[in-house]
């Protein structure tokens, strides 16, 4: 009886205390939030919000040199896939949250630019960046850091089991023997998906490209959210052929997945991972400084460890790991401006044609 009473009292007290503590805390955090709001005007510094579509597994490494040089600046990274980041930025057009966009598809930044959402700014060292990888206006509206390109990740073990040859070109993928074995990213959410679709359009011309994709759709097992997933699915043999991008396919192979990285014979679609300053009422000096850092020597070296093609002149004569020829020569001729202008229409058409597909293909 005593124990019961005692426990009852104890629980009541604990409940009350936790309840009050929670109320108190929520008030504290509210006032704290309010004070950072007002505080941000006084000492605007010390905190920037960076939107990025860079790969999750490499962001922390990239940021190391920034953090050691700017220990007092808090960087809020908002990471999502290209399509999501683009949609987020567009949705926040009237009241932008981001200070800086970092490592996001140039075709997306061009869309933002066409909406007047970018603040022209030439970061320090912009002259070193090759002209095809940056905006041609001065000051620049966007500056590239590296380029990434379509690659097939092909699981050799699974294809051998099925006695199938390794596909070497876009044309090969249409062969009915590959029906239900291919996965590619949805261009509406994935930057890799968009550059692949755009690459096909600029390579073949609009009509031929849609005809090609109609046929490709017949062989496609499914469309996935990200550009990485097809390479990883190929790596585990779940779907032996993944339309992915160079870095991810090579990375999976390095980790020991039985895949061959194939760069399609016709050439690869590509896009630039680029940075830009977001136009807003108060532009923080730290935002500009971040952009300066983002094309400086140390991060450039880091980008190059992952991506074969970076936006500054690369003197190295040796072929990057995973490539059999100069990666630059693999890229097809792409007009990024045109791609950006047609982005919305292309995605709408693509969604209409292929996303509506409701029955899974066997």
């Amino acid at each position: 009886m005593n124990v019961k009473k005692w426990m009852g009292l104890l629980v009541t007290v604990v409940m009350m205390v936790s309840f009050l503590a929670a109320c108190g805390d929520s008030k504290d955090s509210k006032s704290a939030a309010a004070s950072t709001d007002t505080g941000s005007k006084a000492s605007a510094s010390k905190e920037i919000t960076v939107y990025t579509a860079l790969e999750d597994d490499i962001i922390a490494k990239y940021l190391e040199s920034y953090k050691s040089a700017n220990p007092d600046v808090k960087v809020n990274i908002v990471r999502d896939s290209t399509g999501v980041i683009t949609a987020k930025l567009l949705a926040e057009k009237d009241n932008p949250v981001a200070d800086v966009v970092w490592g996001t598809a140039a075709t997306s930044l061009l869309v933002l630019d066409q909406n007047g959402m970018l603040e022209p700014y030439s970061p320090k060292g912009v002259e070193k960046v090759l002209p095809e990888f940056k905006d041609n206006q001065s000051p620049t509206h966007w500056v590239g850091i590296d380029a990434w390109e379509t690659a097939f990740a092909v699981n050799t073990v699974e294809l051998k089991k099925k006695n199938l040859p390794i596909p070497r070109s876009y044309q090969d993928l249409l062969n009915p023997i590959y029906k239900g074995l291919i996965v590619m990213p949805n261009p509406a959410s994935s930057g890799t998906g968009f550059l692949t679709v755009n690459g096909l359009q600029q390579l073949m011309g609009d009509d031929a490209a849609w005809k090609y994709m109609d046929k490709l759709n017949e062989n496609m097992a499914m469309y996935v959210h990200s550009g990485s997933k097809p390479a990883k699915l190929a790596g585990t043999g779940e779907y032996p052929i993944g339309l992915s991008f160079g870095y991810r396919a090579i990375e999976e192979k390095k980790k020991g997945a039985p895949i061959e990285v194939v760069f399609p014979k016709e050439g690869s679609g590509w896009d630039v991972e680029a940075n830009a300053l977001v136009k807003k009422a108060t532009i923080k000096p730290e935002a500009k400084a971040f952009l300066d850092w983002a094309i400086s020597e140390e991060p450039m070296k880091q980008y190059n460890e992952n991506y074969a093609i970076i936006s500054i002149k690369n003197d190295s004569k040796t072929l990057p790991e995973g490539y059999t020829k100069d990666p630059m020569s693999q890229l097809i001729k792409v007009d990024l401006n045109k791609a950006a202008k047609n982005r919305e229409a292309t995605l709408a058409e693509w969604t209409k044609r292929y996303d509506a597909k409701s029955e899974p293909k066997s």
Partner: protein, 573 residues
């Protein structure tokens, strides 16, 4: 029944003026809190469905666009088909399972009971992940244990098959719990009467058992239908190109940031839930009259054949659930399934994946713990005020309605409603947005009803005379509350806390739209990792969640065994 105020002499009532004032104030506070946490966001959601992205009123245009787009109509059909099939299978399995556990003498009931609850400890993504390792192209069953078995079974997992199997696993425990309660009570006299009239066992099952539990059957069917209709996790993982409404909302809101379209789909998603809610209310009312004072408890009679068959059935169901979870456990430790089947801890190093380290796991535990603490206190006090305070009938009815309203709200719709409501800069509570507290609050609102019902039914068991006795002895109501009410209801209170904790650990639907960049939760990191193709780390994170929930459940069981015995001793005669 006469209320307290009628019984008591006038002078007593006047003497309690201060207390009445406290009661009235707390009741008002409760209604205001419920209004802010539930009704106001919901109303905002409804208003947003009728405007376009720029905020102009466009009437039903969002809905007409929705129904004119073939893809959406297809999604609606898909979702209905999947949910209907799931509900049928799930209720059937749960019925047999619950029957075996209540009406037969099979062995191992305790183990079966525990295993049947296991799926509740995992986010629904985990069921999908488990299935990919079983039925995927490199799955254990597809390949016949990598060719070690003489047979293999190849099904097209990605699509309706995968979704339905995941949803059955997800909804089975819910249906089973409802039917367990329905089957637990039966009037032995009815069966004796049936026997005397010469009815066979099968006939008495069909004419006595089934009619007796028909409300339980209806209710569990609707619960299963609604749960799978609104579930997001499983279709995300094994849906393939088979679009359902929940993934449509995700694409609209996250993929295209089309909030008003998301609101429209959110409202469509709410319709079956509201139907289920209404049916459940009707059923609730009717069910009360099935037992009366003259009923005699059911006696299990031995029957070897029946027991043997049902034992095998229970073993199969339990084996299926265990196999799924064990497969996920195994996948979390295997280097590269299926090529390098060596042991590794590497998948638990989430820093190399889209999961952003272990931080989401800790954040999840924090959110779950806060939801459990704050939720239990708030819900119990809320239920107490509505149940035990006399008078203010209208206020209490409003309060009761608001308290059970969340039952009709899918998490996705609630999450969207919260964005619309709390993300307005003009809202004085805007400061909550982007903090951990909005996650706690949305979980509280999401799971409020079930905890509220638990508290209410515990309180209902207490005779109102306890309050009257203390009142006549001049003890203030809050003293009675913590001296008598809380200790007696302790088992229910602890159960509510556990319910809040476990559900907050596994939920993804409501919090998906609300978390700030630095406050990612574990189930959300599973979705992100799955999106990036990091399936093994996603399995590892699922494993952490399941183990945490099992640990919490075990602590709860051990810690409460004593209390349970003591605090319910008065009930045993």
């Amino acid at each position: 029944m006469r209320t307290m105020s009628e019984v008591l002499p006038r002078s007593w009532k006047e003497g309690r003026g201060k207390e009445a004032w406290i009661q009235r104030l707390s009741l008002l506070l409760l209604i205001v809190a419920l209004f802010i946490a539930i009704l106001a966001p919901l109303l905002t959601l409804f208003s947003k469905a009728f405007v376009n992205a720029k905020g102009q009123y466009i009437g039903l245009a969002n809905f007409t666009t929705y129904f004119e787009t073939g893809a959406f109509v297809q999604s609606l059909q898909n979702t209905s088909f999947v949910s209907f099939t799931t509900a049928c299978i799930s209720v059937l399995l749960a019925l047999v399972f619950a029957f075996a556990l209540t009406r037969t003498g099979i062995r191992g009931k305790r183990i079966f009971k525990s295993i049947a609850m296991l799926p509740l400890f995992a986010p629904t993504m985990m069921h999908g992940i488990g299935l990919t390792y079983l039925f995927g192209h490199q799955g254990l069953i597809t390949t016949g244990f990598f060719g070690h078995l003489p047979f293999s079974w190849n099904v097209e997992l990605y699509g309706p098959f995968g979704i339905i199997v995941s949803e059955v696993i997800y909804t089975f425990p819910q249906a089973y719990l409802i039917l367990l309660v329905s089957l637990a009570f039966a009037d032995q006299q009815l069966y004796e009467a049936a026997e005397m009239l010469g009815a066979s066992r099968i006939k008495s099952f069909l004419t006595v058992t089934i009619p007796n539990i028909k409300y339980g059957l209806i209710s569990s069917f609707f619960v299963c239908f609604t749960l799978s209709f609104t579930d997001f996790g499983a279709p995300k993982v094994v849906g393939g190109q088979y679009n359902v409404l929940a993934t449509d909302i995700y694409k609209q809101v996250i993929g295209q940031q089309n909030m008003s379209m998301g609101a429209a789909v959110g409202i469509i998603l709410t319709i079956p839930a509201i139907l289920a809610f209404i049916v459940d209310r009707i059923v609730e009312r009717k069910q009360k009259s099935t037992m009366n004072a003259k009923s005699m408890p059911y006696r299990i009679r031995p029957h070897k054949m029946r027991d043997a068959l049902l034992f095998i059935f229970c073993c199969l169901v339990s084996a299926a659930i265990t196999l799924l979870i064990l497969t996920v456990f195994a996948a979390a430790f295997i280097k590269t399934w299926p090529y390098q089947m060596s042991f590794t801890w590497a998948h638990f190093n989430f820093s190399q994946t889209a999961g952003e380290g272990l931080q989401p796991f800790w954040t999840s535990i924090q959110v779950a713990a806060w939801t459990a603490c704050v939720g239990t206190v708030a819900t119990f006090i809320g239920a107490y005020l509505l149940e035990k305070i006399n008078g203010y009938k209208l206020l209490r009815q409003i309060g009761y309605f608001l308290s059970i309203l969340p039952l009709a709200l899918p998490g996705l719709a609630l999450g969207l409603a919260y964005i619309f409501f709390f993300n307005q800069p003009s809202n004085p509570l805007h400061g909550l947005y982007g903090t951990i507290w909005i996650l706690v609050l949305v979980n509280l609102a999401h799971f409020y009803s079930v905890a509220f019902i638990t508290a209410t039914s515990a309180l209902k068991k207490l005779d109102a005379e306890i309050e009257m006795a203390s009142l006549s002895l001049g003890v203030p109501f809050y003293k009675t509350f913590y001296r008598i009410t809380v200790p007696i209801c302790l088992p229910a209170i602890l159960e509510m806390g556990m319910y809040y904790f476990i559900n907050s650990m596994v939920t993804v639907s409501a919090v998906m739209f609300l978390y700030a960049a630095d406050l990612k939760l574990a189930p959300i990191s599973i979705v992100n990792m799955e999106d990036a193709g990091d399936i093994a780390p996603a399995a590892a994170m699922s494993l952490l969640i399941v183990l945490t929930n099992m640990a919490v459940r075990m602590i709860y069981e051990l810690a409460t065994r004593q209390i349970r015995k003591k605090s319910s001793a008065w009930q045993n005669r």
